[in-house]
């Protein structure tokens, strides 16, 4: 750890840099690539495709909600037998809701968001040649791909995809004949999710180990960009919560296919009679599911928050306000997310004592969330703000995080939840705080790191239009839902025109659907901008946003191994913008500075304890102290 060893290592790095790589074949380079940058692009493009599909599904069921009694010819030509006479089949409606949720939660906002940016940024921002295990990284993508294929293939099944909601609660999911989607569709759903869990674990192990073990020289934990902190904690969350879903899924598979009764008991079925199962409890599934499900919410949100921190600091040209407060709030959100799952289950009939526990711990989450929000605002305060599309989306995230987060405090109250549970209030809450906010974080990241990924710039004007349309339409879609929910409109209902009491909401539903189509159209703009810019965008400079972090020190053209020479060492934190002693308003982490020599700080002498000549163990001191006290022993 002395100066000599540090310098001695350079030789090996140089050897590597000059080592001739023969150009890999097309398949090795683009398909079964082990390069983290390519894998991140694969994740991103798969995520975008899945996102488009998820959004299309939402538009389909929004049509049904807005005009429940009318028929549309194009639906029949689009969906065939599932929209006979131009009206979506009720079972298919449920399937659309289910798969929309699954795709958005797992495939877009988990794999698409954290998979893309963890892969792209972790090695580049911590200064590593690649992930700890590039091979496992590749497997992670291909498990994800297989999982997507299996999930989508359930649309080709005669009885339709899984349709018991994205949480696939038993008994709807455990009884093969409960509804059409409960058959093969749910089986495929479970297979897809287990493949997804494998992918998430392979990825998560890689991310954690890369961040902990492979940081470049000088990249101490308090110099990590906040993105990396967020990805690290996200990976930890996934690593500890997905296995529990695996256990829950295993029980569910056995219940479905092998006649066990973990989640089933002798419930009475209309027309069939009492079931033969005994002893299980569906609430147990909900416990196990939400032990994953709640951390999953933060798996979605934390990367978006990390990206936002980075983008806001860069584009406000200010250090992020309260770096350590940001890290601590991320940490405490991560820890708290594991102990609050039961607030999804207040009205399931679980032990009321649990409800009390969960309510209190849930409300504590408001504290770190508020810390983050205030720090974002304080960073923006008096900043020299550059309104790039990435910045606008980041500010949009803060807005959604506030407006959606506040309703979370209402829903966290067990008493209020009795009224609000399973109503459109919940839909509005989670679509704002984890749907829109996380999607905005994802867009922000795409706009910000597009030059890094593809070496070209995206069109800023189109980006701004995309932002404003999406921002407005998101609020127009989700804000009215609060009022519907407060009035008691339940979610996942197929046809509100059958319930006269809900007739007053018909116009609101039409408004929401029209806004949703507006939002959908805005995404076409994004798709055009994205795919056009990959090939025809303006070529990017090496550091287009004048950012400090390490990834911009790598060449524009992607290299296997990221940096041509040595990995740059890091001399300062990631947010040193607008330093008064500098001409430029940024100071990259790897730049040595005003010509002063690099000084390797030797490890400090270990602190001498007062009685360091004492060789006794603490236990021994502890016990002998009693002898000393009773004067049996002289010091």
């Amino acid at each position: 750890m002395s100066t000599e060893t540090l310098t001695a290592t350079h030789t090996h790095q140089d050897e590597h840099a000059h080592h001739e790589h023969h150009e890999p074949s097309f398949i090795r380079k683009y398909v079964f690539s082990t390069d983290h940058k390519m894998i991140s692009k694969q994740f991103l493009i798969t995520g975008i495709i899945m996102g488009c599909l998820g959004m299309l599904m939402s538009l389909l069921f929004r049509i049904q909600l807005a005009w429940p009694d009318e028929s549309f010819g194009f639906l029949e030509s689009l969906l065939g037998k599932w929209a006979k006479g131009g009206k979506i089949d009720p079972n298919y409606y449920m399937a659309l809701v289910t798969i929309h949720g699954t795709i958005m939660v797992f495939y877009v906002l988990t794999a698409g968001l954290s998979g893309t940016f963890s892969n792209l940024l972790i090695p580049l921002q911590v200064g590593a040649r690649d992930m700890a295990s590039p091979f496992m990284n590749m497997l992670s993508y291909w498990f994800f791909f297989a999982s997507s294929v299996v999930l989508l293939s359930s649309f080709a099944v005669e009885t339709g995809p899984a349709s018991s909601g994205w949480t696939v609660y038993p008994p709807l999911s455990a009884l093969q004949k409960a509804m059409p989607g409960s058959g093969l569709g749910t089986t495929l759903w479970l297979v897809a999710i287990i493949l997804f869990i494998v992918s998430a674990l392979l990825g998560g192990i890689n991310y954690i180990v890369t961040v902990l073990n492979m940081r470049t020289k000088g990249m101490s934990m308090n110099r990590l960009p906040l993105t990396i902190w967020a990805f690290l904690l996200t990976a930890c969350l996934g690593l500890l919560s997905f296995p529990v879903l695996l256990g829950a899924g295993l029980f569910l598979i056995f219940d479905r296919s092998f006649g066990t009764s973990f989640y089933l008991s002798d419930i009475y079925l209309n027309g069939i009679g009492a079931m033969t199962n005994s002893g299980g409890s569906p609430i147990m599934y909900q416990h196990l599911f939400w032990f994953l499900g709640h951390p999953e919410v933060y798996i979605i949100l934390l990367p978006a928050l990390g990206i936002t921190s980075e983008v806001i600091a860069t584009n406000a040209r200010k250090p992020i306000f309260g770096y350590s407060a940001m890290v601590i709030s991320l940490l405490s959100i991560a820890v708290l997310s594991f102990i609050v799952w039961g607030h999804h289950m207040f009205i399931t009939g679980m032990n009321p004592f649990l409800g009390t526990v969960f309510m209190y711990v849930t409300l504590i989450i408001a504290v770190p969330s508020a810390v983050k929000t205030f720090n974002y605002l304080a960073t923006l305060w008096k900043g020299n703000i550059r309104f790039t599309p990435a910045m606008m989306f980041a500010i949009g995230l803060v807005s959604f995080f506030i407006s959606g987060g506040l309703t979370g405090i209402y829903l966290g109250n067990a008493a209020l939840d009795v009224q609000l549970h399973d109503s459109y209030f919940v839909v509005a809450h989670f679509h704002l705080v984890m749907g829109s906010a996380a999607i905005f974080g994802m867009f922000s990241g795409i706009y910000h790191w597009f030059p890094k990924m593809f070496g070209r710039m995206m069109n800023n004007t189109l980006g701004s239009i995309h932002f404003w349309l999406t921002f407005a339409s998101a609020y127009m879609v989700f804000f009215p839902m609060h009022f519907m929910g407060l009035a008691g409109v339940p979610r996942r209902y197929y046809q509100f025109s059958l319930i006269p009491e809900f007739g007053i909401w018909m116009n609101v539903n039409i408004f929401i659907t029209v806004s949703a189509f507006l939002g959908g159209a805005a995404q076409l703009l994004f798709l055009y901008n994205f795919f056009r810019s990959i090939f025809k965008g303006k070529p990017a400079t090496q550091n287009p946003w004048e950012s400090n972090t390490l990834e911009w020190s790598a060449p524009i053209k992607h290299l296997h191994g990221n940096w041509p020479g040595d990995i740059p060492a890091v001399y300062r934190g990631p947010h040193e913008y607008s330093r008064p002693d500098r001409d430029l308003d940024y100071f990259p982490q790897h730049e040595v500075g005003n010509g002063e020599p690099v000084h390797y700080e030797a490890p400090a002498e270990t602190q001498k304890t007062y009685a360091s000549d004492n060789k006794d163990s603490a236990t021994k001191v502890f016990f002998s102290s009693f002898a000393h006290l009773f004067l049996l022993k002289k010091a």
Binding site: Y610, A611, S612, A618, H628
Partner: protein, 198 residues
């Protein structure tokens, strides 16, 4: 290992930021208990006007606890003195005795609540007059929660003292322990007197 490094590296830092934090905490929890006491007065005023205020004897266990807490404060002070005099090999045992006294205090409080319950006084009562009992529960439980924090602090203190990290030149932690523990003792006695006389 030489004495010179000790003198150079460790300077007495008795008034460290951590001490300020503990004082702030003390102020904050004093405010909490003041709030309880004023709420008590308000309710008592209402209750006495409507003849709905139950007077009852405090359980004798609470007075026992007061005695225990006095004893523990004495040992705490001894531990602090030992640290001041650099009698470092006595600190762990003295702190342990303090801790045991603290645990005994907790047990005694627990029996005090059982005593109240035996007399049919519960945390939530149907009779409006019995709100005085609820107050006794809430106030003693809030104090109990503070004691738990103190016990954790003491455990850390014992661990540090066993590693010989508490000594004449490093009194910060034991100072914190001492301040907080004495505060808890005084607080309990004051609360008890308040409940007795009010």
């Amino acid at each position: 290992m030489s004495s010179s490094t000790i003198q150079n590296n460790t300077t007495p830092k008795e008034f460290s930021p951590k001490t300020v934090i503990i004082w702030l905490l003390i102020v904050a929890s004093t405010m909490l208990f003041l709030a309880f006491c004023s709420a008590y007065f308000v309710h008592q005023g209402d209750g006495l006007r409507n003849n709905a205020w139950l007077k009852f004897d405090l359980p004798f266990e609470f007075w026992l606890s007061a005695g225990i807490v006095l004893i523990s404060s004495f040992f705490m002070q001894m531990a602090y003195r030992a640290a001041q005099k650099d009698d470092i090999y006595k600190i762990p045992s003295l702190l342990t005795i303090t801790l045991i006294c603290g645990i005994a205090f907790c047990i005694s409080q627990f029996y005090g609540w059982l005593n109240l319950m035996d007399r049919g006084l519960f945390l939530s009562n149907k009779e409006p007059a019995e709100i005085s009992a609820s107050f006794v529960y809430v106030i003693s439980a809030a104090h109990f929660a503070h004691i738990i924090g103190g016990l954790i602090l003491l455990t850390v203190g014992i661990a540090r003292a066993s590693k010989l990290q508490i000594h004449k030149k490093n009194l910060v932690f034991i100072n914190i322990c001492k301040t907080y523990w004495h505060f808890l003792g005084i607080l309990w006695i004051l609360l008890l007197l308040f409940l007795y006389f009010a």
